[in-house]
């Protein structure tokens, strides 16, 4: 019997019963290792090894077929050769299994996409969901279930890991154990044929045992759903991500600047920021962040105090704070008042508080205690360089106690210890108790920086996003005309009509079909004018000499007309030239570019940057997934390196940033409401002084091959 219902994801993480199909009595088989891990992990639900040979494995009675299980298993772990998987999935679906986790490989990762699709299609008909294939299994601390073929002992904790790489996932189980990072769950998603990260977040977001989520990702299936899920999750708990393939550019046709600038990694990076996700450079950094963020309370403000017994290391920490955007508390008078009694005569009460090399346990305790009780201080970095003034025991006891007090008072603290044997002993002991100690300044302040980024994101008010009013009917009519003409792009006049439909103003323009018309139209529009070729065969008009500026009279218009035709024919001899657009030449402003496109992974995304060389050479642009709120659009504008040019430098006036934000939102609305518009790019938009608005000078719009099917 088929069903359209989808099982609650909780059943994957907290199943009442689990079947292992392909369970084996041979210790070298994956089917044995998984069963062994389930049995030894302390899982208290029902375990059904399934093997046609029957018998007993690891004390569990083996059923010869799935239909013989006493109850319907919530989860079936499938560990059989690829050729048998589809039949097994059919059995699971018929039995009413909720989730099948397919360990077996040999599907889309080796080109066998069709069978993978068929498996998912079949399972979904019966309301069953698939994890994998090509995975090492999953672990859930909530029910002490280790259904992986990875290490047996997984330390319990509050970090959940979602990984696309099986080998890396297995290795990370070991790595987190060594680094004393306990896990609440680890899920291998493999080929993501059905379940992907987004649905796993639905469980982990509300799982009280999970304080932080670490995701290793290689490729994205449904970016739109992932964005939604991430946005919901990061409001509650931190998500840390590593994505491989940073350097690989997406396979995007360079039909627009937006397309050519939108390397997959740039978009991924921007969208992760937009979603409040903390993106780490490497696995070690990600694990350092997980270790700290999963155990640390959130700060209640941004003021951080450094306490040290060494001036040099204090300066290093100050540098690191700047790098990782950790703000230092700066009330010198207050610091002097509070800490002058603790610091020696040659110490310092400026932040960093330098207790000097002869600082004792008591002085550290006093300084840390003062900071803990000071409501103006929201986080503390405690640095210690090994001296003869403290023993390992003294150090351990002091740090342990202080850490507890800080935890109890919900104030983040981080400890960095340098030195030899005494320090090493202390570090090892403290790590065993999951105290956040590090042995290098940057390594310790980087997680604190990540914690502050998460804090800032949570503090940011969630905005309701509503699309601005655009003339949908008029845009639809323009698209219909283009479709009828069997084109996939808008001609210049159609582009201008689209701009009108979204309420953007542009210069006056007309399309001339002959030199006589060109002169007449230029006379009507008024000089100076710009002339641009209108041709379906020429996308980058300027690059082929298809645009000429600043034409002041009829003679110049005639010369320009001939030149444009000649240039375009030289570029492409058989280019179809639909006319020459005669455009009012608007006053010079600051040129910016706004482009939106349908990203293969994330759906509609929008780009903003300064125009001209800034976009072409400097690639100084920012991206967001759509929709964007006005404050997010404003952030996009602020994010580019050349933002100061918009603020007005060297006597220039501030530019109309509100006008840019408005244009970003309007272009975004078009891209979102018309998925068949694959690319829309306004370049340049002339931005005038504050309050004087913006003018869209040129717009390029490309349509998808097929008609809209949303």
């Amino acid at each position: 019997m088929t069903t359209n219902s989808t099982p609650n994801i909780k059943a994957l993480f907290q199943p009442e019963s689990i079947a292992v199909i392909g369970a084996s009595s041979s210790p070298n088989k994956i089917g044995y290792k998984i069963l062994s891990n389930i049995v030894s992990s302390g899982y208290e639900g029902l375990i059904y090894p399934v093997n046609p040979k029957g018998g007993e494995i690891l004390g569990c009675k083996v059923v010869t077929q799935l239909s013989d299980t006493e109850t319907i298993p919530d989860v079936a772990v499938v560990a059989v050769p690829a050729s048998l998987v589809f039949d097994v999935v059919k059995d699971c679906a018929h039995r009413g299994v909720k989730f099948a986790t397919i360990i077996s490989s040999g599907f889309s990762e080796v080109g066998n996409l069709e069978e993978e699709r068929n498996i998912v299609k079949y399972a979904r008909q019966y309301g069953m969901r698939i994890l994998g294939p090509n995975i090492f299994g999953h672990y859930s601390a909530a029910v002490s279930l280790n259904a992986t073929f990875g290490p047996k002992d997984i330390p319990t904790g509050n970090v959940a890991i979602i990984t696309q790489s099986g080998a890396l996932g297995v290795a990370m189980i070991g790595k987190t154990a060594v680094q004393k990072i306990g896990l609440s769950a680890i899920i291998s998603v493999g080929n993501k044929a059905d379940l992907d990260e987004s649905e796993l977040f639905d469980y982990l977001r509300d799982d009280p045992g999970t304080h932080a989520i670490f995701m290793y990702i290689e490729g994205i299936r449904n970016g739109g759903r992932l964005i939604e899920s991430l946005k919901k999750t990061t409001r509650i708990k931190p998500v840390i991500v590593i994505k491989s393939g940073r350097s690989k550019r997406g396979a995007i046709a360079a039909a627009s600047h937006t397309g050519s600038l939108a390397g997959s990694d740039e978009i991924f990076d921007a969208i992760m920021k937009q979603c409040g996700v903390l993106r780490a450079e490497n696995i070690q950094e990600a694990l350092d962040w997980c270790k700290y963020i999963s155990t640390s309370p959130l700060p209640s403000g941004e003021n951080t105090l450094i306490i040290t017994n060494g001036g040099g290391v204090g300066v290093l920490a100050t540098d690191a704070c700047e790098k990782f955007q950790v703000s230092l508390y700066d009330d010198k008078q207050r610091l002097q008042h509070d800490y002058s009694a603790i610091t020696h005569g040659f110490g310092s009460t400026k932040n960093p508080i330098d207790l000097t090399g002869d600082a004792t346990v008591q002085e550290y305790t006093s300084a840390l205690g003062t900071a803990l009780n000071d409501e103006n201080i929201h986080a503390v970095i405690s640095l210690y360089c090994e001296t003869a003034m403290m023993t390992s025991e003294g150090l351990i006891e002091m740090i342990h106690r202080q850490n507890l007090q800080y935890q109890n008072k919900n104030k983040p603290v981080i400890f960095t210890l340098f030195g030899g044997h005494v320090t090493e002993v202390a570090v090892q002991k403290l790590l065993e108790h999951r105290v956040p100690v590090y042995t290098e300044v940057y390594e310790s302040i980087s997680p604190l920086g990540a914690l502050f980024r998460f804090y800032r994101y949570r503090e940011k008010a969630e905005e309701m996003i509503s699309d601005p009013g655009i003339n949908v009917e008029q845009i639809q009519n323009i698209i219909s005309t283009v479709r009828k003409d069997n084109r996939q792009f808008l001609l210049a006049n159609e582009g201008q009509m689209l701009l009108q439909a979204i309420g953007m103003t542009g210069p006056k323009s007309k399309i001339a079909k002959s030199i006589g018309e060109a002169v007449q139209m230029a006379n009507e529009i008024g000089y100076p004018v710009v002339m641009k070729v209108v041709s379906r065969d020429i996308i980058h008009k300027s690059d082929v000499g298809g645009v000429l500026l600043n034409l002041d009279n009829g003679d110049e218009v005639m010369d320009a007309y001939q030149t444009i035709i000649h240039n375009c024919k030289s570029y492409k001899r058989d280019a179809v030239i639909d006319g020459i657009e005669i455009v009012e030449q608007v006053p010079k402003g600051t040129e910016v570019i706004i482009g939106a496109r349908q990203d293969e992974n994330f759906g509609p995304v929008i780009m903003f940057g300064l125009g001209g060389i800034y976009v072409e050479v400097m690639k100084d642009v920012s991206f967001r997934a759509l929709p964007v709120s006005s404050s997010e659009a404003r952030l996009m504008v602020k994010e580019i390196r050349s933002f100061p040019l918009l603020l007005g430098v060297r006597g220039e006036n501030r530019k109309d940033i509100d006008g840019i934000v408005d244009a970003i939102i309007k272009v975004g609305a078009v891209s979102r409401q018309f998925p068949e518009i694959t690319d829309i790019e306004i370049n340049p938009i002339m931005v005038y002084d504050k309050g004087s608005g913006v003018k869209a000078i040129d717009v390029r719009v490309l349509l998808s091959k097929s008609e809209r099917n949303d």
Partner: protein, 345 residues
């Protein structure tokens, strides 16, 4: 004022070079006209013909190049003129030049029929302006003979003021004369000269190539007037290209994509005279800096490699004022091989 109308049956036979050589040997003052322009130069919002610009700058002519042509495009000329005004304008131009010159050289369209719809073809111009017509033919032996005999049998008119023919770019003149002496002797009009082929004049300069391709010159803009004798498409690996015999030649230009840093580096190390980057792909800044340091012109274009190779293959090298060696050679060739005294008589 004498008027010399220089025309050709086919394009690219070297009319402009020949005119340059004739003008160089002319003892008096002359003016130049090219009523129907075809080699556009657009500069500071004005359009003129490259050949007019060349003649103007080489011989310090009185009028600006923009005044030497009526237009480049049928629609423009039709918009401004009709048959009658074209005739009166041409006459007016001739009268204007007459005041300070004793010879007017008129270069007609790229082939004999060009401009017929506008009454600006060679024969119409002869009719409108009067003057003596000179026909230029050139190329391989068979093409020259086809043109000569076609003109002789089908187009030549006794009553037409026709000075004769100049044969240009003729390879192996003794062999040509030996092979075709009978046909040449039978012509109804005189042969005014036979100019030998000069390989140096057939090599484009880097500037010619940049202008033909509408390329953006990224580096070494002052080093464009260098001849290009070999053109290579760098589509293979840098290792493979380094082994190519042609790659070892001097004065070579490489066509490759901007993302082929290896090929660009190989090209500058092999002392190429220019690099054309296709598909509008910019190389990394450090590569551009390196090319700039070596003073090698780096040119970027929109088209793909195939289209660019095709365009270069089809292009006709133009003479620029910046090529004094070529200009001197042209003057010398005309002086030595054309009976100019018959023309000036």
């Amino acid at each position: 004022m004498k008027k010399l109308i220089v025309s050709s049956l086919e394009r690219d036979v070297g009319k402009t070079s020949l005119i340059l050589g004739l003008a160089g040997s002319y003892p008096g003052k002359f003016a130049y006209l090219k009523p129907f322009g075809d080699r556009l130069v657009y500069h500071e919002k004005k359009l003129w013909d490259h050949d007019a610009q060349l003649m103007g700058s080489l011989f310090d002519l009185q009028h600006s190049p923009a005044e030497m042509s009526l237009g480049f495009d049928h629609s423009k000329i039709k918009f401004q003129y009709d048959h009658s005004t074209i005739q009166t304008t041409l006459k007016a131009m001739a009268e204007k030049y007459q005041q300070s010159n004793d010879l007017l050289i008129v270069e007609t369209g790229r082939d004999l029929a060009r401009g017929t719809a506008l009454h600006l073809d060679a024969l119409s111009i002869c009719k409108s302006m009067g003057g003596t017509q000179v026909l230029v033919v050139g190329g391989i032996h068979d093409r020259i003979m086809d043109d000569l005999l076609f003109f002789d049998r089908h187009l030549y008119l006794q009553d037409h003021n026709f000075a004769g023919v100049i044969l240009n770019k003729v390879k192996d003149i003794p062999e040509f004369l030996k092979e075709f002496h009978k046909e040449l002797d039978s012509l109804k009009f005189p042969i005014l000269g036979i100019i030998p082929y000069a390989a140096e004049l057939s090599s484009p300069t880097v500037r010619n190539i940049a202008e033909t391709l509408s390329a953006k010159v990224l580096t070494a803009e002052t080093n464009l007037d260098v001849d290009v004798r070999e053109i290579l498409v760098g589509a293979m690996s840098a290792d493979a290209v380094l082994r190519l015999e042609k790659f070892k030649h001097r004065e070579k230009l490489i066509i490759t994509s901007g993302d082929r840093s290896d090929m660009i580096l190989a090209a500058i190390n092999a002392e190429c005279v220019g690099i054309v980057l296709t598909n509008n792909i910019l190389p990394p800044p450090n590569i551009i800096a390196l090319v700039s340091e070596k003073n090698v012109p780096l040119m970027i274009v929109q088209n793909d490699t195939f289209q660019i190779a095709k365009k270069i293959d089809m292009m006709v090298p133009l003479i620029n004022a910046e090529n004094p060696d070529k200009i001197d050679l042209i003057k010398k060739l005309v002086k030595e091989n054309v009976k100019t005294e018959l023309l000036w008589a």
